[in-house]
Structures are given as structure tokens and as C-alpha cells.
Amino acid sequence: MATVEDIYRKHKPKAFSPGRRPSSTEVWWWFFMRISGVILLFLVLIHLYVMHLVGSGVERVGFDFVAERWANVGWRAFDWVLLVLALLHGVNGLRIIIDDYIRSPGARTAVKGTLYGLTAILMIMGTTVVVAFDAGVSG
């Protein structure tokens, strides 16, 4: 079996030539994944601890629980930052996986287009409910 080194020597891909600069958009997404990853580490672990371990865990979560939690604007901000970072981090990860496995340009565009459309809808749904939730109106 040809090793990675063999393939490299045979093809000498331009991607590895010393003069080539990576696309700046990709560099920024690479950087975003690291920064958002570190922030998410804290946000998600706090979220899991508060929602799944404290008290009786998920059993105590319900409309009243959310209403009480979101009476505090700090928790709303926390949840919104968690929503935005997690969704962008997750979708960018999916984009990279799509590039790895879906080779045909048409299928790639279709799948990515669907994914981005879905992401926009989810971002709007999540943002709307975090910002506009009013226990008095919906409860």
C-alpha cells in the first residue's frame, strides 16, 4: 500500500508548497473552531451540570422551570451565546465532513445548501424564543 509519503512524493500537491497561502476564510473558520471550542467547553459543561445533574436532573425541567430560569436575563444571554456558538461550531464541522465524503459538486452544493438553510431557520427559531419568551403571554 502506498504510504502518505509516497503519494506526496509522486504528486507533490500544490497545497503543500511552501509559497502557498491557505484561503483566509478557511483559516478564520479553523481559528473559530478553536476559540468557540474552548468557550463551549465551559458553557456546555455548565449547561449539562445545571440541567442534568443538579437536583433531580432532567425530571424537574418543564415550562415553569424555564420561565423561572429565563426571568434572569443573564441565563438568557448564556443560553443565546451557547446556541450561536454551538450551532456554528456544529454546522462548520458538518461542512468539513460533507467535503470529505461527498465528492460530486452537484450533490455537495445541494447538501450544503440544505444544511445552511436549516441552520438559518434554527438560528432564527432559537434566537426568537430566547429573546422574546414571555411566561405571562405563553403561559
Binding site: M1, V4, R34, G37, V38, L40, L41, V44, L45, L48, H52, L53, S56, G57, V58, E59, V61, G62, F63, D64, V66, L83, A86, L87, G90, V91, G93, L94, I97, D100, Y101, L118, L122, M125, G126, T128, V129, A132, F133, S138, G139
Partner: protein, 160 residues
């Protein structure tokens, strides 16, 4: 309520669907061991960490999609929301919840390991050691959490 059942159905489809995609990825990656070409690096624990990172990422993002939709339901009042999330409160759902926590904790710690290698490349020379340290950290963080979560579910199950 129909809307609640639809949202529960969506979460179910996303969970099963992402599980299937993750399994397909695993099957594709298992070919690496048989010397065929796939999306692969050099094998060993580093390769498996990469596989696990990808698989756990897919599982978590799939649940995130469903979770945003079920949370959206809170804006439509207690009747819809409480019925929707009652899915998560069934004792038999607990293993899935624990699996989600495992996926998140693994992905988080593995991500830290990747960041470490990105910014301090010489550390990657000891990648096997770091992979083992990371597995130990994962066990330390995850096992107690799993214990507490499963204990309460066991008491509610027919077995408890």
C-alpha cells in the same frame, strides 16, 4: 397533542438518523485497518481519536438540531412544552441522555487535545501519551456523572 408528537418524532428521527450516519462512517473507517483507501491517516490510537471526534460531533450536532426545535416549543405554552420534553423524562430515555453526555465530554476533551497540538506542535510527538491522558480525564469526568444519572433512572424503572 399533535405538535408535541411531531417534535418528539423529529428528535427521534434525528437521533436514529445521526446514529446511522455515524455507523456508516465507522464502517467506512474500519476499511483503513484492511489496507484499503478511505479518509484516513496512519491508524493507531491517534486515528481512533479522530474517528471518535467525528462520530461524537455528528451525534451531538444532530441532537442540537432537535433540541433547538423542542426549546422553541416553550414559546407556545406549558401544554405543548411539557408534553414534548416528557420524552426526555422517561426512565428508558436515560441511556440516550448518558450517551449524549459521554459524546459531549469526549468531544470537549479531545478538542482540547487537538488545540494543544495545533498551537504547540512538538507536543504531537507524544500524541499516544496525550490520547491516554485524555481517556483517563474523560473517565474521571464522565463516570461519576453517569453513575448519578443512571441511579435516579434505575429507581424509577421497573427494575428499581
Amino acid at each position: 397533542m399533535l405538535a408535541a408528537k411531531l417534535i418528539e418524532g423529529l428528535v427521534f428521527v434525528l437521533t436514529v438518523g445521526s446514529g446511522l450516519v455515524a455507523t456508516l462512517l465507522l464502517v467506512d473507517l474500519l476499511r483503513v485497518g484492511k489496507g484499503r483507501q478511505g479518509v484516513a491517516y496512519k491508524g493507531g490510537i491517534g486515528q481512533w481519536s479522530w474517528v471518535a471526534h467525528r462520530v461524537t460531533g455528528i451525534l451531538v450536532v444532530a441532537f442540537l438540531f432537535g433540541h433547538i426545535v423542542d426549546t422553541f416549543g416553550v414559546g407556545f405554552g406549558p401544554e405543548l412544552y411539557d408534553e414534548t420534553i416528557s420524552l426526555y423524562q422517561q426512565w428508558w430515555f436515560k441511556p440516550f441522555e448518558v450517551a449524549l453526555v459521554a459524546a459531549v465530554v469526549y468531544h470537549a476533551f479531545n478538542g482540547l487535545r487537538i488545540i494543544l497540538f495545533d498551537f504547540w506542535p512538538h507536543l504531537a510527538l507524544k500524541q499516544k501519551l496525550f490520547a491516554k491522558i485524555q481517556l483517563a480525564a474523560f473517565a474521571i469526568a464522565f463516570l461519576p456523572a453517569a453513575f448519578f444519572m443512571l441511579r435516579s433512572a434505575l429507581e424509577e424503572s421497573p427494575l428499581g
